[in-house]
């Protein structure tokens, strides 16, 4: 690395501890102007922690940080912004009751003597949104937006600061491809303006597409920095997880389910006005049925309706018998499990321990005449933590302190603990690192081999195509196609998903 | 038209008696009467009086939540041409047309005299008080003044016990801290009845005598049946209520009434 004059940000030996927990051990990083620098590491490797330090949200325990040749230890986000740092946080940090505009320009509202000019606020936010080319209404209340739209607002908020260094912490984990494209355009423009960009993602394809430099971290420690041209996905994965991985999508174990077998789940004409219409499909034991669509296609709503959380009309049969499911409790009693897409709101009790979260949907299993069987509960928690390789101190750790990807695994563990016959997975690998993804795919395969019927909702096309036996494609609340995996190509799927058939 | 009465509480038998007597007399005299309850809140009392003014009553009967604090309410009524009668608690700083009430200070002195007689002129005494109510302060002052006549009697503890439950805890704790107490004076029936319970719970019924103030039925029954309750200073709320309405009727008829109509408290010591 010769061109030292381009260096904007330089870190050496950065360490960060939370009490007994070491989040960063020894972190080095050199970021240059006009380049996209990706940080790659497993869940819990310390990436977000590092970004929070740079953003002035947390202080490092030890280490040297220099920005533009000067010492850089920001104590507040304002200080960081003033020094030229802009950040898009991993966890959404929006205020749901306020408008998009108010959120984007929070604390920097156009004002005179403390009085906000609502007109200028809207105008400025709209200008920014238009400049970035984001499909979001600045007048809308954040609470009324989908997760994807919220992520876009988060991006706009981060970019509303004019930074020399722009950080994106997993900006695409809840975006569909079309929205991700908008983001990549933006990044291209920033790069052309000579800004330094720090990018964090677990999606290898986009990393290879965007990055100039890639730094790999493992267990809070710097491993190496490589140039994009001089590496491959396989090598990066090996550096990251510390071993070689040949195939990301493990092959199916055993034969494909027999189409002649009676379906465990049969759905006919399921309709929820305003969300989806005429959803009809069958699911056999051991089958993985993929649901692909752009974000907002209504897949989550279909699953919510199946699970009794949303009212809908139509016919649902389980084991050939018609059922009406009006609550999650009834769904669980029918053997349905539902890994929801929004782990913070619908998935986890962040204040509680892993043990309590893992057992929460299967409480009847740990009950003897109403009393908790504490030992059985602990055993299950240990088993699930081991099976999913959740990175945690113990099963008594407070779930909210885990890294994002590890929290996602806890949601999975919670539903595996119910031993479902029908498992709905809604974006099961959102924010999960490659190694862990492989583990999750392996578990999905194994469940299928054991006879579990799986509905897999995902916005990652490779994931859907890599795992499913058959694929349902939805757009605008309607099923456009249901076909066996072999008959589908990525292009064909996208044609249906975007409604251009 | 008619009489508006603003009473300071409706959760005390004494005031329930006053209200009952007023209603009975108003009915007997055929005069409209409305009663508002201030619930011990001076600003609610002021609001009640303001609402009476809007309604246009002829006479206001008021038992002030506070002697001084009732001033603006009374003045507002008088400015609106309404005659004002105070009942039980006098008003300070303003002339009212008539005051009907117990002489609390004299009652306190009587309580001390009774205590002295019961204890043979010597012993240690505890007091349960309510320091934010002026009529109670007058009772306690009178009681202390009366005890000065007994040089061998000593006040060893004084605690606040506003509700019966609080008075019970205060009495228990005072007895615990001063096991040689021989007499307790409660500022009202509630305090005295609670003190009697505490005395029995501590097993001191042979040693401690309790005297109360108000003399409502429950307390009089206790004096009759419970050797610990040796006596109670008795007020006469029924007379007070009747007299208030009679006075108001006279005022409506344009007659003269005496400015001060004291009701001397009695001493009830049972059969």
């Amino acid at each position: 690395m010769a061109e030292n004059d381009d260096v904007i940000l330089h870190l050496t030996g950065v360490r960060k501890t939370f009490g007994p927990i070491v989040a960063l051990k020894n972190m080095n990083l050199t970021v240059r102007a006009g380049r996209v620098h990706t940080i790659l590491g497993e869940n819990g490797a310390g990436k977000s922690t590092l970004m929070k330090i740079l953003a002035g949200v947390q202080l490092p325990t030890e280490g040297e940080i220099r920005l533009g040749g000067e010492d850089y230890y920001p104590r507040t986000p304002q200080e960081a912004a003033a020094r030229g740092l802009a950040i898009v946080f991993q966890e959404l940090s929006l205020c749901n009751n306020l408008s998009v505009a108010a959120n984007i320009l929070a604390t920097r509202e156009p004002s005179r003597m403390g009085f906000i000019s609502e007109r200028k606020l809207l105008a400025r936010a709209r200008a920014l949104i238009e400049e970035l080319g984001l499909p979001v209404d600045v007048n809308a209340r954040v609470a009324d937006l989908s997760i994807a739209q919220r992520q876009l607002v988060e991006i706009a908020k981060g970019l509303s600061h004019d930074g020399r260094v722009v950080i994106f912490d997993e900006p695409t984990s809840s975006l569909s491809d079309s929205e991700a494209e908008i983001l990549f355009d933006i990044i291209g423009r920033l790069k052309a303006q000579g800004k330094a960009i720090i990018y964090i993602s677990h999606r290898m394809e986009e990393i290879m597409r965007l990055s100039d430099d890639i730094t790999v971290v493992r267990d809070g420690e710097y491993v190496t920095t490589v140039k994009k041209e001089e590496t491959t996905i396989e090598e990066l994965i090996a550096l990251m997880v510390g071993r070689r991985m040949e195939e990301i999508y493990p092959p199916r174990l055993g034969p494909a389910p027999d189409p002649a077998m009676p379906p465990v789940l049969k759905v006919e004409g399921l309709t929820r006005p305003g969300a989806f219409r005429d959803a009809s499909f069958e699911l056999r034991p051991g089958e993985i049925l993929g649901f692909f669509g752009l974000i907002g296609a209504g897949r989550s709503e279909v699953m919510g309706a199946l699970f009794g959380m949303l009212a809908a009309e139509g016919r649902v049969e389980i084991d050939g018998k018609p059922v009406t499911i009006r609550s999650a409790a009834e769904a669980i009693a029918h053997g349905i499990g539902f890994v929801t897409e929004n782990r913070k709101e619908q998935g986890l009790v962040l204040l509680h321990s892993l043990r309590q979260n893992i057992s929460m949907a299967a409480l009847p299993r740990y009950s003897a005449k109403g009393f908790l069987r504490a030992r059985a509960e602990r055993e299950t928690a240990h088993a699930e933590v081991d099976r999913l390789a959740i990175r945690t101190g113990s099963i008594e750790t407070v779930t909210g302190t885990l890294s994002g990807g590890n929290q996602q695994k806890v949601v999975l563990a919670k539903w595996l603990a119910t031993k479902p016959r029908i498992l709905i997975l809604d974006e099961p690998t959102r924010g999960v690192d490659v190694g862990a993804k492989f583990e999750i795919y392996r578990i999905i395969r194994q469940l299928a081999a054991e006879g579990t019927a799986i509905l897999l909702v995902s916005s990652e096309l490779p994931e859907v195509l890599g795992l499913s036996d058959r694929v349902v494609i939805m757009s605008e609340g309607r099923m456009r196609e249901a076909a066996a995996r072999d008959t589908l190509t990525p292009e064909r799927v996208m044609t249906f998903a975007t409604g251009q058939f | 038209e008619g009489i508006g009465a603003s009473l300071l509480t409706q959760q005390h038998p004494f005031y329930i008696e006053i209200a009952k007597a007023m209603e009975a007399e108003a009915q007997a005299q055929g005069v409209p009467l409305e009663i508002a309850i201030a619930n011990q809140d001076l600003s609610k009392q002021l609001a009640d009086v303001e609402d009476f003014i809007v309604k246009g009553v002829d006479v206001l009967v008021i038992s002030p939540v506070d002697s001084q604090g009732a001033l603006p309410a009374i003045m507002k009524a008088q400015q609106a041409g309404i005659k004002v009668i105070t009942v039980d608690v006098p008003a300070q700083g303003v002339e009212v047309t008539s005051y009907i009430g117990t002489d609390n200070y004299a009652g306190g002195v009587k309580a001390a005299e009774l205590m002295g007689a019961e204890l043979g002129g010597a012993g240690k005494v505890a007091i349960i008080d309510y320091p934010t109510v002026q009529s109670v302060v007058a009772r306690i002052d009178g009681f202390k003044k009366g005890l000065e006549a007994f040089p061998e009697m000593e006040i060893v503890a004084q605690q606040t016990g506003i509700t019966r439950a609080e008075a019970l805890a205060a009495a228990q704790n005072m007895l615990q801290a001063n096991p040689d107490v021989t007499g307790i004076f409660g500022f009202g029936d509630d305090a005295a009845l609670a003190a009697a319970v505490a005395v029995k719970a501590a097993g001191l019924q042979e040693q401690v005598k309790v005297i109360g103030f108000d003399g409502m039925e429950e307390a009089r029954n206790a004096v009759d049946s419970d050797p610990v309750m040796v006596g109670v200073i008795q007020q006469f709320p029924d007379q007070m209520g009747k007299m208030a309405v009679d006075t108001a009727v006279k005022l409506i008829a344009g007659e003269e009434v005496p400015v001060d109509q004291p009701i001397v408290p009695g001493v009830y010591t049972g059969k």
Partner: protein
């Protein structure tokens, strides 16, 4: 969807959006007024409305301060005691013969100071505001009684009394004060960066931290506002009563919170407006006055008051569900 955290947009559709946003409780207020006018001829008079506004002033002003606190997701139970302290400070300073202006200044300063104490304990020591203000409720109530040993203190300063007794342009000064404080609080909350920061902090504390908002400073300032509003209430109350009562404002914190919540302020923070709080306070005031006018016996008043509050919130919640 309208933005419930925001005051209605200015412009020609102001009334419309007002009705949409406050449909439920506004309706309750109107229905109450209609019922009381039909049952009592004297209810619908200028004199009586002046009455109501005067009677509701103390609760309304305290509730303005409380709205800030609740918007942050905190609570201030000490306001009732601060009301009493304010009256007592004023009366004592007048008693020293220092005159009206110093008395007023010191009273307001006392309110802000007691609020500051609440705020510092909550923000700096990270104690829950509920327990902090339960404790200071007791402490301040004890303090107020020290100068007089529990007795009230008269305060007959003519200017002090004039606040509660006189009128300006035919409207009682108390009502002017409520109106001005309403406008000030409303503008501060709805149209300034400080108000916006309050919504952000109450809505999502972490987001506020990430946006670089000094959450602690906001919290302390807001407890000071609450203390200040309570002190102003205390001044009005003692002015109306010509005296400082040591038990003044007892349990007013509940009325103030009820007014704010009735007006749509969410106890978990981030949602609420001053307009709503004002309507909430008016409902409580109209109810008390109307039942007095109808001579409803005291215990039935308690029951009716509770029932009306239930119905009002129910209508409000339902009208919001319908729209959303």
């Amino acid at each position: 969807m309208t933005d419930t955290a925001q005051p209605p947009q200015a412009g020609h559709s102001y009334l419309k959006s007002l009705i949409r946003q406050y449909g439920g409780i506004f309706l309750s207020l109107v229905v109450l007024c209609v019922v009381f006018s039909l049952t009592n001829d004297r209810f619908l008079s200028v004199a009586n409305f002046t009455n109501i506004l005067q009677q509701v002033a103390v609760i309304a002003i305290t509730a303005f301060g409380m709205t800030w606190v609740i918007l942050l997701g905190e609570i201030d139970l000490s306001v009732g005691s601060i009301i009493a302290v304010a009256g007592m400070v004023g009366a004592q300073v007048i008693g020293l013969g220092w005159g009206f202006a110093p008395a007023l200044t010191l009273t307001l300063a006392a309110g802000a100071l007691l609020g500051l104490f609440n705020g510092v304990l909550t923000a700096k020591l990270l104690l829950p505001s509920f327990i902090v203000t339960v404790a200071t409720m007791s402490i301040y109530r004890g303090l107020v009684s020290l100068p007089t040993g529990g007795a009230p203190e008269m305060n007959m300063d003519p200017t002090w009394i004039a606040i509660g007794a006189n009128s300006f342009l035919g409207v009682p000064i108390i009502i002017w004060i409520v109106a001005v404080l309403f406008v000030v609080n409303h503008v501060l909350l709805a149209h300034t960066t400080f108000g916006r920061k309050t919504y952000l902090t109450g809505g999502n504390r972490e987001a506020a931290l990430y946006s670089g908002i000094n959450v602690n400073a906001i919290k302390i300032k807001i407890f000071m506002i609450s203390g200040l509003m309570a002190a102003i209430s205390g001044i009005l109350l003692s002015s109306r009563l010509y005296s400082a009562q040591t038990n003044a404002g007892l349990s007013y914190e509940l009325d103030a919170i009820a007014a704010a919540v009735l007006g749509g302020t969410s106890l978990s923070g981030g949602v609420g407006t001053m307009v709503g709080t004002l309507i909430g306070a008016l409902i409580i005031g109209v109810l008390n006055n109307g039942m007095n006018m109808l001579s409803v016996p005291y215990f039935y008043q308690l029951i009716v008051k509770g029932l009306v509050i239930l119905v009002a919130v129910y209508l409000d919640v339902r009208s919001k569900q319908r729209q959303g």
